[in-house]
């Protein structure tokens, strides 16, 4: 089996992104009110993105024996829901940039942005409804159940992270971090798209538990790399606010490592920084935090921790795809393990 390199992986993601984007536009209403609603709804999807979720969903559909078009409404629903989460997350996190441009609430105000996020959720429901006609009631109900489970997990994870920040929670471990990203990120970024694709492609026969394992390891490797890039990545490629996670007080693996390793004055510096509200955090404090992370090896720790999880993803892939014949789609899904750790955007 020939492995795919990083560049072909990105070309494949782009191809799936274009396919899903074209289908997604068909779900965007063209009537009024454009200025206050539909233009805002179309904004984030039009900004592009890595298209990881639709690619996983569609590649999994085909790898498990289905047709690309059978997974398309689900891929569209997933993208719409993803963008809805982004709009609301950006407000909750007071984020400044999304995909290289000002966030929706900065451009249009919080009330209209929240409403546009709600509209994206409603449109995702419309895309899911089309599954009934395409896949039949039994399979469409199975996919809808998967969406409900995914949305529930994601909201639980988001609530946990927001709660930690509100209450200034500091006594966290790597286990807490993994449990958080299992809910907040992995379920909807990797686990759910893989499971939905497998469900559709195999007509409900695939072992979905095996895909929870592979999806989680893949998603955790993705998230850890995302956290590292947020601090030391090239912002022109990364697209989000540089060091935004630190400004927002997120409990990333590096922050948790720093809290566990520092003592004395360094420990007090980190604790004081964590206790601040976002507007109180300065560029100098951010630079000091990154310097401490370098000194205590927190960045290296996160990278190595991610490598260990990527190794687990290799094993989990072989188990989850043991009965799936070789195909370009299967190879792409396997190649994503390495890509997660090597990507720079």
């Amino acid at each position: 089996m020939t492995p795919l390199e990083v560049a072909p992986v990105e070309a494949e993601l782009e191809r799936y992104g274009a396919l899903t984007g074209e289908a997604l536009r068909a779900y965007l209403p063209e009537g009024e009110p454009r200025r206050y609603l539909w233009d805002l709804v179309a904004d984030y999807p039009a900004r592009g993105g890595k298209a990881l979720r639709p690619a996983l969903c569609l590649a999994s559909t085909v790898a498990f024996g289905g047709e690309t078009c059978e997974g398309l409404p689900s891929a569209v629903a997933l993208e719409l829901l993803h963008n809805a989460f982004l709009v609301h997350d950006d407000i909750e996190d007071a984020s400044l940039l999304r995909r290289g441009h000002p966030t929706l609430h900065l451009e249009h105000g919080v009330p209209l942005a929240i409403n546009a996020g709600d509209a994206l959720v409603v449109l995702a429901g419309a895309a899911l409804r089309d599954n009934r006609r395409l896949l039949g009631s039994r399979l469409a109900t199975g996919v809808a159940d998967e969406f409900e489970l995914m949305a529930r997990r994601t909201i639980e994870g988001q609530a946990r992270e927001l709660g930690w920040r509100r209450d200034g929670v500091r006594d966290l471990t790597a286990d807490d971090y993994l449990d958080l990203i299992m809910h907040k990120t992995c379920w909807y970024t990797t686990i759910h798209p893989l499971r939905v694709g497998a469900l559709i492609g195999s007509l409900g026969r695939a072992d979905l538990d095996a895909l929870v394992r592979f999806g989680f390891y893949l998603g955790a490797a993705f998230q850890i790399q995302d956290d590292v890039l947020n601090l030391v990545g090239d912002q022109s490629k990364y697209g989000k606010e540089s060091c935004g996670d630190l400004y927002e007080g997120k409990r990333t693996l590096m922050v948790i490592h720093l809290l566990s390793e520092t003592r004395g004055d360094d420990r007090r510096t980190v604790e004081r920084f964590i206790a601040l509200e976002r507007p109180e955090r300065t560029a100098e404090q951010i630079a000091a935090m990154i310097a401490l992370m370098r000194e205590y090896g927190s960045l290296e720790f996160a990278r190595e921790f991610g490598l260990g999880i990527a190794a687990a993803a290799e094993d989990a892939f072989e188990l989850a795809f043991a009965d799936v014949p070789d195909s370009p789609e299967r190879r792409l899904l396997h190649a994503l393990i390495g890509w997660m750790l090597e990507r720079d955007s």
Binding site: A18, L19, E22, E67, T68, C69, E70, G136, S137, A174, D175, L178, D179, M182, D209, V212, R213, F216, Y217, A220, F301, E304, F305, G306, L307, G308, I309, A311, A312
Partner: protein, 220 residues
């Protein structure tokens, strides 16, 4: 003679990295197995809420149907209505499936579908491009198909020759059932043509039902 520091262990760094990787792997495995167990425990029953207590139940839980002799009949009727509803839903699904099959069977042998393509506005002498998707909804796989176009015609009779229209790819590969192909259409506008909308169609050899409407806006 002063004691010399022990020689640094060249493998210490590697061991430390391996230890962190092992910690990552083990922590992740613990989290995912816990989540899977939670999923198994959280399997829902038919109702997510407890059904209200039967007001006719006695203290020992037995229903006192003798207090309301018509209740059993009403319950029986409710059950029968629910069964009829389910049967009706089942029949509707069967009919939907039959209708879908009939539509496929009665349709053209190789029916293509596509969106409408709008291009421009663009000025005379310029060039304009657009992307669209061609979809084959049913029918057997076809041989490679070459894309062609009709002349684009304005309301006053002005035309843009088909030779001014190019496709990328110009030849479509084998078109499988329910597959899609993205194409790029480029139109070179002749100098001096009249402004306004021009209309025509994109066609493909081997796909006789495929006809993609094209509209191009020529600006002044």
């Amino acid at each position: 003679m002063a004691d010399r520091d022990p020689a640094p262990d060249p493998l210490a760094g590697l061991r430390a990295m391996a230890e962190v990787q092992r910690a990552g792997l083990e922590a992740a495995a613990t989290v995912v197995e816990r989540m899977l167990e939670l999923g198994r425990l959280g399997t829902r029953g038919p109702f997510p809420f407890p059904l209200p207590a039967d007001p006719t139940a006695g203290s020992n839980g037995e229903r006192r149907s003798e207090d309301d002799p018509g209740r059993d009949m009403r319950r029986l009727r409710g059950d029968a209505e629910r069964m009829l509803e389910l049967w009706g839903e089942w029949m509707r699904l069967l009919l939907d499936a039959a209708a879908d099959s009939a539509e496929v069977a009665l349709g053209p042998p190789s029916r293509g579908a596509a969106d409408r393509l709008s291009l421009g506005p663009a000025k005379p002498g310029g060039s304009v491009s657009g992307r669209t998707w061609l979809h084959v909804l049913d029918g057997p796989p076809t041989a490679p198909a070459r894309l062609t176009a009709t002349a684009l015609t304005a309301a006053d009779g002005s035309t843009i020759d088909p030779g001014a229209i190019a496709f990328e790819p110009a030849v479509l590969g084998t078109f499988d059932l329910r597959s899609s192909q993205e194409i790029v259409v480029t139109v070179d506008l002749p100098e001096g043509i009249a402004p306004g909308p021009y209309h025509g169609h994109i066609l493909a050899t081997g796909l006789p039902e495929l006809s993609l409407p094209v509209r191009i806006e020529v600006s002044a």
